[in-house]
C-alpha cells in the first residue's frame, strides 16, 4: 500500500484552562487518527474552538501531542530525540500560512520578504533569486516584486506569504483560515493560487476554513467537532449530511441547501451538488416535466 504523506495515529492534545475558579484540563484534540496522501487537497471544517487549528499546529510541530504519534513521510515527528536539524527539515517540508496577512510579512520589499525563508536555510544567492522569481510567478505577483508589502491588498499580502513558503520548496502547505480576513476578491485570488499549487506542483494541501464554498473545492473534507473527526469524505458525501453539520455549528453551501429543500418539497431531484453549475443543471432537469 502507498505510504501516507501525513499519518496521525490516536493523537490527543490537552491544555489547561482557567475557568476563573480552578485550572481544569481540556482536550483540544481527542484521539484523532487521519491519513493524508501525497498530492491530496484536504479541507478541514469545524466551528471556532473545535480543535482544527490545534491539529494543524501539531502537524507543523508548533505543539507536541499529549499522546499519540504523527508521521510525516514515515518519519515520527513526535520523537523527543529528534535533532534541531531534523525539525528544521520537517518544517521546511510542511509550510504553514496563517490567518492575518499583516502578521506574516517581515521585509519592506516584496521580494526580500519572499527571500527570507530560503536565506535562513542558507541557500546560495543565485538559487534564491531563481526561487523567489518562480514563487512570485506561481502566485501571480511577479509585477509586485519591488513593491512595499504594506501597500498591497489583503489578498495580495496573503499571496506574498504563500510565495514565501513556496520559496522553501515545501511538499505540503497547511493553510490555517488563510482567507478569513479577506474580501471576496482576495479570497478568490488565494483559492486560485492554492488550487494551482496543488494541481500543477503536486503540493499536498491541508486547508482549514470556515467557508463551506471553499471546502467544496477540495478533494476531500474532514469535519472536526469537539476535538474529534465526525465526518470524512468527498465534499459531496460530507455536505449531504446537512443536519449533522448544522448540529455542530457549520452549514452547507447555499446550492447544496437549495437542492435539499427542493427534494423535500417534492421535486424530482436525485443526488447531490456542491457547485452552482451542477445545481442549475439538476434543477433544469427536474423542471422538465
Amino acid at each position: 500500500m502507498e505510504e501516507a504523506f501525513i499519518k496521525i495515529e490516536n493523537v490527543s492534545y490537552m491544555y489547561e484552562e482557567n475557568d476563573g475558579f480552578a485550572k481544569i484540563d481540556r482536550y483540544a484534540v481527542k484521539n484523532v487518527s487521519l491519513e493524508i496522501k501525497e498530492g491530496e487537497f484536504v479541507a478541514v471544517l469545524g466551528h471556532n474552538g473545535s480543535g482544527k487549528s490545534t491539529l494543524a499546529k501539531l502537524i507543523n510541530m508548533i505543539y507536541t501531542p499529549t499522546s499519540g504519534k504523527i508521521y510525516i513521510k514515515g518519519r515520527d515527528i513526535t520523537d523527543e530525540n529528534m535533532s534541531d536539524e531534523d525539525i528544521m527539515g520537517l518544517r521546511k517540508t510542511v509550510g504553514m500560512v496563517f490567518q492575518n496577512p499583516d502578521n506574516q510579512l517581515v521585509a519592506t520589499i516584496v521580494e526580500d520578504d519572499v527571500a527570507f525563508g530560503p536565506e535562513n536555510l542558507g541557500i546560495p544567492s543565485e538559487e534564491i533569486r531563481k526561487r523567489v522569481d518562480d514563487a512570485l510567478a506561481d502566485v501571480g505577483m511577479t509585477k509586485y516584486a519591488n513593491h512595499e508589502p504594506h501597500r498591497l491588498s489583503g489578498g495580495q499580502k496573503q499571496r506574498i506569504a504563500i510565495a514565501g513558503i513556496i520559496a522553501m520548496l515545501p511538499e505540503c502547505i497547511i493553510f490555517d483560515e488563510s482567507t478569513a480576513m479577506l474580501d471576496p476578491v482576495g479570497r478568490k485570488e488565494v483559492m486560485e493560487s492554492i488550487i494551482k499549487l496543488n494541481r500543477e506542483k503536486n503540493i499536498t494541501v491541508l486547508m482549514i476554513t470556515h467557508y463551506m464554498e471553499e471546502a467544496a473545492l477540495a478533494d476531500r473534507v474532514v469535519v472536526i467537532d469537539d476535538g474529534r473527526i465526525i465526518s470524512d469524505g468527498k465534499p459531496i458525501e460530507v455536505f449531504k449530511k446537512e443536519k449533522e453539520l448544522r448540529d455542530c455549528g457549520l452549514s452547507v453551501p447555499q446550492c447544496t441547501e437549495l437542492v435539499h429543500c427542493l427534494s423535500e418539497n417534492g421535486f424530482d431531484i436525485k443526488g447531490e451538488c456542491v457547485d452552482v453549475v451542477s445545481c442549475a443543471n439538476m434543477i433544469f432537469e427536474a423542471l422538465n416535466l
Partner: protein
C-alpha cells in the same frame, strides 16, 4: 434614534503627499432612522473610511456630516458628544480589549461619560445581555475568552454607552457559521428592542441579504447604488463588475435564465428560490393539463 446625513463629502488619505488617494468622492447620503442599513463594497472602496466620518474619528476635507440636523464639526471641542451618540465597533474589535476583567472593559465607556456606579452597573449588565455574553463571564479576564466571546465583549463595550446609532464594521469576520448567525440575531434583537439606527459594513452578501432593510454600495470612493436588498441584488451583473460576490443562489438563477427559464430578478435566498421554483412547477403542470 438619530439621523445621519452626509453632504458633499470629499476625503483624501495622505493629502498633499505623493501618495494622496481620493478616498471619498462627492458623498451625499441620508441613513434611514430606526433601520438596519448595510454598506457593501470591495476592499479599498471607502466603506471603512466612510463609517469613521460618522462620529468624527476622521474629519472630511470638505462637506458636512450632520447628526440630527447638527453639523458635528460646528464646535470641534464638542465632538465627544457625537462619539457617544454614534457608537462605532471597528474591525476585529477584540484587539482593543485591555482591562483585567470583562466587566471593567465594558464599563470603560460609561465611566468616561461620568455616570454613577449604579448606572454603570445597569448598563454593563444590559449591554452584556444584548451582545449575547453570559453574565458569569464578566469577572473573567477578556484574554481568557474565546474569539467569539471577545468579539461580543467588545460590542457590549460600545452598546453600554447606549448610542443612538450603532455602527459595526465587519462584526462577523472570522467567525464560524453559527457564531455569525448568533451575532447577527443579537444585533437584530437589539435594533428591534431599542429602535436604534444600525449600520453594518460586511463582505457577505448572504448575511446582508438576510439582515438589512436597505443597502448602500460603495465603489472607488463613490456611492454606486442605494436601495432595498431586492433593488440592489436585482443588479447582479453590475455588482459582479464592481468586484463584489453575489449570493450563490443568484448565480444559480442566472444560469437557469441562460438556459431559457424566465427568472425574475432579485432572488438571493434559498427560501425565495424554493418559492419561485414551486410556482414555476405549478404553472408548468397547469399548462400541460
Amino acid at each position: 434614534m438619530s439621523r445621519i446625513e452626509l453632504i458633499d463629502i470629499e476625503y483624501y488619505h495622505g493629502k498633499d503627499t505623493p501618495y494622496e488617494i481620493h478616498a471619498l468622492k462627492n458623498i451625499n447620503i441620508a441613513i434611514p432612522e430606526g433601520q438596519i442599513t448595510g454598506i457593501i463594497g470591495h476592499t479599498g472602496s471607502g466603506k471603512s473610511t466612510l463609517v469613521q466620518l460618522f462620529n468624527g474619528i476622521l474629519k472630511s476635507h470638505s462637506g458636512k456630516v450632520m447628526i440630527d440636523s447638527e453639523d458635528i464639526w460646528q464646535k470641534p471641542k464638542q465632538i465627544k458628544r457625537f462619539r457617544y451618540k454614534v457608537g462605532l465597533v471597528m474591525q476585529y474589535p477584540e484587539y482593543q480589549l485591555f482591562e483585567d476583567t470583562v466587566y471593567k472593559d465594558i464599563a470603560y465607556g460609561p465611566k468616561n461619560m461620568g455616570l454613577s456606579e449604579e448606572e454603570i452597573d445597569n448598563r454593563v449588565r444590559e449591554a452584556a445581555a444584548f451582545a449575547g455574553l453570559d453574565a458569569e463571564l464578566l469577572e473573567r479576564s477578556p484574554f481568557d475568552l474565546s474569539g467569539g466571546q471577545k468579539r461580543r465583549a467588545a460590542i457590549a463595550g460600545i452598546i453600554a454607552m447606549r448610542p443612538d446609532v450603532l455602527v459595526l464594521d465587519e462584526p462577523a469576520a472570522g467567525l464560524d457559521p453559527r457564531g455569525r448567525d448568533s451575532i447577527f440575531n443579537n444585533i437584530r434583537e437589539y435594533q428591534k428592542t431599542l429602535n436604534t439606527t444600525v449600520i453594518i459594513v460586511s463582505h457577505s452578501m448572504e448575511d446582508m441579504a438576510r439582515l438589512c432593510d436597505s443597502l448602500i454600495v460603495m465603489h472607488d470612493g463613490e456611492i454606486a447604488m442605494t436601495g432595498s436588498c431586492d433593488e440592489v441584488f436585482s443588479k447582479a451583473d453590475e455588482l459582479v463588475k464592481m468586484g463584489l460576490d453575489i449570493p450563490q443562489i443568484t448565480k444559480v438563477m442566472q444560469l437557469l435564465s441562460e438556459k431559457g427559464i424566465d427568472v425574475p430578478k432579485g432572488i438571493y435566498t434559498v427560501e425565495q428560490a424554493v418559492e419561485f421554483l414551486k410556482s414555476l412547477r405549478k404553472s408548468k403542470k397547469e399548462a400541460l393539463q
